[in-house]
């Protein structure tokens, strides 16, 4: 079970793997950057900003999709079935003549909403609770911790599937709620652990000894230190949520067709020998997911190593 104990030098295994297949969260339970490059004092580096720009661009596309004069994702153009990339259809079409570009863009909406919204909620609610619990401790801490422990004991994908099954029909809102219920205890534990690490530091004791109230300490002293770590974990959470939703969609258990979702587009593309005939159907959403996840992972990692190095210098 996820546990706050440090098991071996410098490797806290308090991060819980969201059991979806990437277990990306687990992999970032180490304190070392993947390449071990020391952070240049200058900034987060070009890689980080490129990834950030890409993510923002994708979000922009998804949000303003309807204003972009894209072909409807459900419009079937029988004159261009299974077409490869070309002038009329930039990414090609699927076996029903639907434009792949617009399908991917509209499909990304679902993924991005389910990626960012629950994590946002989780950071605010779970993170806030974690900050409070980590700093104050006591009965509140014990109870919330126990509740979080119980919720997290249940495997995530299974929980989502099972709740979904009995809470039909599935909608974006319901999925967001379910994801948020899982994300909140996760982020609670992570931020609580980070807060605990900071709460015993001298600057906090100093602030308290000068009579600062709890709220002030939380916001002015602890929050700025927790933030980088929290954002880093948040980004990984987004990546994990996207994977989770994609897996669900692939299983046909996410938003119902014909609303496209990246996962179900891949599903369609992988069935009925379509892979051999028109690999593009599965390819484009797969590529999108890959790039998105890479960008998120790189950003999270860069954030972590940038602030970790500063920690090490202390």
């Amino acid at each position: 079970m996820p546990d706050d104990r440090v098991r071996s030098p410098g490797v806290p295994v308090e991060v819980v793997a969201a059991d979806t297949g990437t277990a990306g969260a687990l992999a970032f339970g180490t304190g070392l950057a993947p390449t071990g490059r020391r952070a240049r004092r200058g900034g987060l580096g070009p890689v980080f900003w490129v990834c950030m720009a890409w993510v923002l661009l994708m979000v922009f596309l998804a949000v303003f999709a309807s204003m972009l004069h894209l072909t409807s994702p459900t419009a079937q153009d029988y004159s261009a079935v299974n077409a490869g990339p070309g002038l009329h259809h930039l990414l090609g079409t699927d076996d029903l003549g639907r434009d792949l570009l617009s399908r991917v863009v509209y499909g990304s909406r679902v993924s991005l909403v389910i990626g960012f919204a629950p994590i946002g909620i989780g950071l605010v609610v779970g993170g806030g609770l974690g900050l409070l619990a980590g700093y104050r401790g006591g009965a509140v801490d014990t109870t919330v911790n126990a509740v979080a422990f119980v919720i997290l004991a249940y495997p995530a994908l299974l929980a989502v599937i099972v709740v979904e099954e009995f809470w039909k029909p599935t909608s974006l809102l319901k999925l967001t709620v379910i994801f948020a219920v899982i994300a909140t205890p996760l982020l609670f534990r992570v931020i609580r652990a980070t807060t605990l690490a900071f709460a015993s530091r001298e600057f906090v004791v100093a602030a308290r000894s000068m009579g600062a109230r709890t709220g002030r300490i939380l916001v002015r002293e602890l929050l700025p230190n927790i933030l980088p770590s929290a954002i880093s974990f948040g980004l990984i959470g987004v990546a994990t949520a996207i994977v989770l939703e994609g897996s669900l969609a692939f299983l046909g258990l996410s938003i119902a067709l014909p609303t496209p979702s990246l996962g179900n587009i891949i599903n369609e593309g992988a069935n009925n020998n379509l892979l051999a005939i028109n690999p593009y159907i599965a390819l484009w959403p797969a590529l999108y997911v890959f790039l998105m996840l890479t960008a998120l992972n790189l950003m999270a990692d860069r954030l972590r190593s940038y602030f970790d190095v500063r920690e090490a210098r202390l």
């Binding site: 297949g21 277990a23 004991a153 495997p155 990546a239 046909g252």
Partner: protein, 314 residues
């Protein structure tokens, strides 16, 4: 030691109880009437009343829970509505497949990740390390539902080496059995490779800087010996913890692989049950899957405590 075991055991019991309650309540608390789903077109008031009586759904909730719990403890998880098969039978048929998938995939993951991590840790930040770290980083961005279709396309469709779907059980010979297991296991292994590699590499790098490793070198022991007999054991704690979490998560990511490759494991059966609104099946399987997850995690945690002589003494 004993006190720790006792605490964990109590936690396990409490979690088990809560899981059983949760799984039981799913049917009853969430909006949506299961009878509607079950009866389908045969939905008449009399049929519904009859079904309610049959399922015991007209009794008070606590009574129902009691009956259900007693049944469960006797091994009676009910009967599937669609296949009329006992849930326990279905589980018994599906479980070995999941088991085999998990075992084979983890073997593959370890066989790949361990040597990679060891070589990389010996010369950190050199060519090999950078290459290996970058490529495993990429693996994190390839969740199962992305990589599986691609793998199938490349290996099964184009090259026809391994079967794209279907499962040959052990009774048909170990050759065909392994052949049908390899591709899905590789899909499952991808994410695990990334996790194992990163964690082990980080831990090994830290361990190799310890004084006792320098001392072992000063005794003239070979690098290979030092890696395997001195550095690996302390580093393996992290690995074990990671394995526990990964395996716990594999249960659910196996769902996707099973659906794609049409392997009749628990995940596949569960998803089929969901498609056909076979709620007793879903309930029973969810219970078992969740329990397995919890027990594995607790077990791994316990084993870890046993193995670490430092923690033991505390």
């Amino acid at each position: 030691m004993l006190r720790y075991a006792g605490t964990r055991l109590v936690q396990l019991v409490v979690i088990t109880f809560l899981i059983s309650v949760f799984t039981f309540l799913l049917v009853h608390l969430l909006p949506g009437d299961p009878t509607v789903a079950i009866l389908g077109p045969n939905d008449t008031p009399t049929a519904r009343a009859e079904l309610l009586r049959q399922l015991g759904l007209n009794k008070p909730l606590v009574d129902q829970y009691g009956t259900w719990l007693v049944n469960v403890l006797h091994g009676n998880l009910g009967q599937s509505f669609t296949t009329k098969q006992e849930v326990t039978n279905a589980l018994g048929e599906g479980a070995p497949i999941d088991l085999e998938l998990i075992v084979v995939s983890q073997v593959i993951a370890l066989v790949v990740a361990l040597p990679l991590a060891m070589v990389a840790a010996l010369r950190p930040n050199r060519v090999f390390d950078r290459a290996a770290t970058t490529s495993t980083f990429g693996l994190l961005a390839l969740p199962t539902f992305v990589i599986a279709p691609i793998l199938v396309l490349v290996v099964a469709v184009k090259i026809h080496v391994f079967p794209a779907t279907g499962w040959d059980s052990l009774s048909e010979g170990i050759g065909p059995n392994l052949k049908s297991a390899i591709l899905p296991s590789i899909c499952l292994a991808f994410g695990s490779i990334a996790v194992y590699y990163r964690l082990l590499r980080a831990d090994l790098i830290a361990t190799l800087q310890e004084d006792y490793v320098t001392m072992a070198r000063s005794k003239g022991l070979s690098t290979r010996y030092i890696l395997l007999r001195h550095a690996l054991r302390p580093s393996s704690f992290t690995l074990l913890a990671a394995a526990g979490l990964v395996i716990g998560g594999l249960f659910t990511s196996a769902f996707i692989v099973e659906v794609l490759f049409a392997l009749p494991g628990i995940g596949y059966l569960l998803v089929q049950a969901i498609y056909s609104d076979d709620y007793l099946m879903v309930q029973g399987m969810a219970l078992v899957a969740a329990m397995a997850f919890v027990v594995i995690n607790f077990g791994v945690d316990f084993v870890l405590t046993l193995l670490d002589p430092r923690v033991r003494r505390a």
